[in-house]
Amino acid sequence: MSPAPGMVLPDEAARELGARGGVALATNELGFTYPEGTEALRGVSLEIGAGDLVAIVGQNGSGKSTLVRHFNGLLRATRGSVSVGGEPVDRQHVADLAARVGIVFQNPDRQIFSSRVQAEVAFGARNAGLAGDDVEGRVHACLRLVGLEEQARTNPYDLGYSRRKLLATASVLAMGTPGLVLDEPTTGQDLRGVRLIRALIDLLHEMGRTVIAISHDMRFVAEVFPRVIVMQGGRVVLDGPPETVFAEASWPTLASTYLRPPLAATLGARLGLGSTPTEDRLIGALAQRPPGTSPGEDGSPPPGG
């Protein structure tokens, strides 16, 4: 999809957003049990390289949000281990972890506390050690990337839910962390908001940042992420490119964790076109078929539409 016009100027934004480069993340047999007894993670072993672009999917309560909270020290493993930047997290201070991995939570209202949009974003920039004009530059760049530059002086609670979510994204972005986790970034966003998020992820990826998104939006996942991790009941049950994860052979596993492949994948399989996880791939595969192979016989629409 082409980005919305006049939105992102990668080089300029990159100058304002801090250093290029990402951070490697890894877990080994990670287990986590909440104090009241819910066992949210049951042995997760993953390696995510610096600069990787990864989606995590899975049914509600499958452990996605619990997993990513281990990457910046919000939660500490009750079993197994976690490393960030090649070092075990239990040898790193929470403040250092917070400077390496930023998390944009699902619910922006757990994150926002300032009375002005720009102050909210400036807090992140100051936390990253910026001062004076540098703060202003970064605040401006981050607000522009999420399409809120005209709301800089607004009270965050005068923004609708979807814009508060974009604001929370800008605030974390302002910290310039080499790793960024977006928990349900497209939730509640309209077409423009989704395009902004996609352009932002593309930009961060170009900058070499490590980007992880948790999402229930399978089309977004299939179109944007080269690697998809599927979780169920606190474990990883699938891990691979969209072509594999959304291929027909994976459908039973997806169904067991309340996921559905994108419509393009379902149609591609039904039409014998192989794995077509995105709409572009499906249309491309259809265009390449030799003439006269249409299962719709004479090409007329089937009765009953």
């Binding site: 839910y161 309209d190 229930h216 265009a287």
Partner: protein, 267 residues
């Protein structure tokens, strides 16, 4: 019987311009009416006004009429209105009472406040949990749920009140695809079986394509288009209103543009 807005214009307290302008809308008993539109187009405001919460509880200025079963919402007391119109807000954590220790008690909170018998309360809570597929969460602490689970608990709490009309502001936003389908089918079934009227604000047009009878498009506070769900959701103007069409409509259009045929009915 219906929930009806006629010429409804609403301005938030202190706002210069109205957030909703001359809205005519009817949700008949047993119907599912979808609402789509860009962010800040007035969808949430429409929910507040339709539910009688604006201006009654949040102030502001309303002109035109909002009627529930031919009664003006402005002349009904809040607890009476609450039994006629169930409202689900976008952010479930603002909706949960914060006073209960388990999901079961949380869902029973509303029915108990209605003064219903214990038997009836038990029946309603169990039914509501079953309908949205969260029976397994009964003993869990409401404060320790995932976002999607909290959303289902909030929805079950509204359903347990047995309102005549349901006003739902993105009720599936945090749900996995299976949960989204389940909720969609449950709402359609509820409308058909009990005659409840459902006003359903959604960005997920695939869901509306599946369950809505009619859809209206909001743009800058006005209803700019309305129609039968399937044909309106196939309207080429949707992206211009900031609305992502359902997958089948996108695929049909992409296939047309590429000059290829989609050999089967897409949906």
């Amino acid at each position: 019987m219906s929930l009806r807005l006629a010429g409804a214009t609403y301005r938030y307290a202190g706002a210069g311009r109205p957030a909703l302008v001359a809205v005519d809308l009817e949700v008949a008993a047993g119907a599912v009416v979808g609402v789509v539109g860009a962010n800040e187009s007035g969808k949430t405001t429409l929910c507040l006004v339709a539910a009688g919460l604006a201006p009654a509880t949040i102030g502001g200025e309303l002109t035109g009429t909002v009627e529930v079963d031919e009664l003006h919402t402005s002349r009904q007391r809040p607890h009476e209105l609450a039994q006629r119109c169930g409202v689900l807000f976008q952010n479930p954590s603002t909706q949960l009472s914060g006073t209960t220790g388990s999901v079961w008690e949380e869902i029973g909170f509303g029915p108990r406040n209605l003064g219903l018998s214990v038997e009836e309360t038990v029946h309603r809570v169990d039914e509501a949990m079953r309908v949205v597929g969260i029976a397994a969460l009964a003993e869990r602490d409401p404060a320790r749920l995932s976002g999607g689970q909290a959303q289902l608990v909030a929805l079950a709490s509204v359903l347990a009140m047995h309102p005549r009309y349901l006003i739902l502001d993105e009720p599936t936003s945090q749900l996995d695809p299976g949960g989204t389908e389940l909720v969609g089918d449950a709402l359609a079934d509820l409308a058909q079986r009990t005659g409840a009227g459902v006003l359903l604000v959604e960005h997920k047009t695939d869901l509306l394509d599946r369950v809505a009878d009619r859809v209206v498009v909001l743009d800058a506070g006005r209803i700019v288009e309305r129609g039968e769900a399937r044909s309106l959701l196939g309207d080429a103007r949707l992206p211009g209103w900031g609305v992502d069409p359902p997958a089948r409509a996108r695929l049909e259009r992409a296939a047309d543009a590429a000059g290829v045929e989609l050999p089967e009915a897409v949906a």
